[in-house]
Structures are given as structure tokens and as C-alpha cells.
Symmetry: C2
Subunit: 196 residues, 2 copies
């Protein structure tokens, strides 16, 4: 349908997260119908991002400058929030509730996937802590088996630094209906209950 260039483009879109052949066809048709306003600008933007965006050599964030905008900002507090992915970092930035710095591990320890401490950015975190001596280290890891394992490993490694280590609170999410919550969350929320 439509020649090799079109099929190739649809195939690449179809493999992006959350997309499939149907949505890829819809997107490509839209792009081709609006060539000047969508197709060419998207090609240019991808090229520009490919040329400028790099992984920050300090924290692992993605930015068109290195060190990234956050690492370069003198106003950011000397606290390090350790996250698994850049997506997690962005989620905190969108929430606008944290004004410290970050460290992106690039994943979690995983016995199942065979990811050990040398496969994620733990060595650079330890070097950074020794160098920057932050006032606090926040372990903002996923509430999964792998996230918990990573948190335990890091807490153990960070013991020697004499710096307060904290974790995110776990419980009922905002707007969460108890009826649909899983038992693990309910149990955690019950155990961690606070006097109102």
C-alpha cells in the first residue's frame, strides 16, 4: 500500500510505545495530508533533538545542555532525589513540589532481568554524594519488587555517608477509590495510618 517509503514509515511508527499498525496508519495519513504544517516540522524537530539533546553527565537527565538546566541552576537545593528514569524526573518537575537536584539510575536492580549494581548509575551516584555532600538523599523508586531491592541496596551503600536518607510515602493515591485499590496498597496505607 503506497510504496516502500510509506510502509517503512508506518512500520516505524507502529513500533513506538502505545502505538500499533492502526494508529500508525492514522498518524502517517494525517502527517501526509498536512505536509507543510506537520510532516516537515516533525522531521526538523526530530533532527534538532537528535543533534542537541544529550544525557547530562552529572545526573543522567536529558537536555540540550550539559550539565542539564537543573544541575546548572544555582537556586536548586543541595538535596539529591534518586529516580529510576528520566520520565520519573519529569513527573516530579511537572508536579512542581521539589526544588532539589536529581540522580537518574537508568533502571532498577533486577534479579529477573539480570541487572546488577554495575548496570545502573550507582557508582556515579556514590562519587557525586562524596563530592557534593548533599543535605538529604531521597530514594524515589518504584513501589515494585525491583524498586524495593534497589532501595535496600542503596540504603546499605549510603550508610557510611552520615546523610539523612528518606523514601516516598506509600498509601492511597489522591482521588483513589478504595474499592478498586489492590490489597498491597490498602495494607500499606493501613499500616502507615496517621492520627487525624
Amino acid at each position: 500500500m503506497g510504496g516502500p517509503e510509506l510502509e517503512h514509515l508506518i512500520g516505524l511508527f507502529a513500533k513506538l510505545p502505545g502505538l500499533g499498525p492502526r494508529s500508525a496508519r492514522r498518524i502517517v495519513l494525517k502527517l501526509l495530508r498536512e505536509r507543510e504544517t506537520r510532516l516537515l516540522p516533525l522531521a526538523d524537530a526530530i533532527r534538532a533533538a537528535a543533534n542537541t539533546v544529550r544525557t547530562c553527565s552529572v545526573c543522567g537527565n536529558l537536555d540540550s545542555r550539559d550539565p542539564c538546566t537543573i544541575c546548572a541552576a544555582p537556586s536548586r537545593e543541595a538535596i539529591i532525589c534518586v529516580v529510576e528514569t528520566v520520565a520519573d524526573l519529569w513527573a516530579f518537575e511537572r508536579a512542581q513540589i521539589y526544588r532539589g537536584r536529581y540522580h537518574v539510575l537508568g533502571g532498577s536492580l533486577s534479579a529477573l532481568s539480570g541487572r546488577g549494581p554495575e548496570d545502573i548509575a550507582i557508582a556515579s551516584l556514590l562519587a557525586r554524594i562524596a563530592d557534593e555532600a548533599p543535605a538529604e538523599i531521597i530514594l524515589a523508586l518504584s513501589a515494585t519488587v525491583d524498586g524495593a531491592a534497589t532501595g535496600h541496596y542503596l540504603a546499605e551503600k549510603l550508610k557510611g555517608f552520615d546523610i539523612p536518607i528518606s523514601r516516598l510515602a506509600q498509601g492511597v493515591p489522591m482521588g483513589g477509590s478504595l474499592e478498586v485499590l489492590d490489597e498491597g496498597t490498602l495494607a500499606t496505607a493501613m499500616r502507615a495510618r496517621r492520627i487525624a
Copy 2:
């Protein structure tokens, strides 16, 4: 977050059909993480499609050749299936149940949107029919008010040609549970019932 190039790219993805800010961020992060295998190939494929894919001057299909692969194929029967969009044409091709030719109107007549006969490819259809004298014309239009209006208008215009004009059957879709079907479909299916 991440500088202007990154935000611009996410903004463009977020405006594609079916995507929003959340899915656009996910896609862009994936692209940047897999720069060599995803980001650069996608940029190249968009550029290649932009440079090669054109609207077929005969039928309105999109293809990297003009006339398109379908129009250029001598094996295709001399029947014209009139569709509203290239997406509809592709749907028939995927189903592999039709070996004739197509004509893409590029939309339907719409009183509400103010689209008249001169806004869609009706003149070129009439010229083509006069020229090619097809054995049949299939009006494969949406089962909507606009699709029906377009079908009536075309049937009227095509009366003079002495060529059989057909329409798609309407009824219960395959795998369709009657319980969830709308009343319009049920009524059409009942009226058009056939002796088993």
C-alpha cells in the same frame, strides 16, 4: 524540562491523532534512549516519505509513484470503488476482497461543514468515468448523514452514464453482539433481512 528542542518535539507528537502530552513524552523518551535504532531511522523515514509520497493524479491515493501502484496495475478490474479517504482505500486493500480500482473523494459533502461538490474530487470522478467507462461504480461511503448525502448526490450525477451503481450492504457487523448495537443498525439489518 530538557530544553526547547525537546519540548518542541514533544509538543508536535502530542498533537498527532490519538496522542497526548503523556504518550508523546513516553514516545520521545523511547526515541532518545534508542537514538541509533529508532530516532535517526524515524527522521530518515519521515524525510524519505516527504520527498517521495505524492497524491495519485488519477485516483487520489497516496503512493511513491504517480499513477499509484493500483492505478498502474493492468490486472486491476475496470470497476471503480468510490471512497471518502485514503484510509478507507487502505482498509479495502487490507481486507483483500476487492481487485478493482478506486477513487478517493477526499471527504464527503457536508452541509454542516460547508463542503460542497466542488470541495471534493467529484469533477475528476465524472471525467474519469467518461474516459474509462468502468463496468461498475461502487459507492463505498460512510454510513453517516454526510456519507448518505454524498451517495445520493453521486447517484444522481451518475444516472446519465448507464453504468451499474452499487452500495455497500448495511447490517450487523461480523462478531457484533446485537445487545450493544445501535438502533439504526438493528433497524437497517432487520429491513434488509434475507431468507436464509
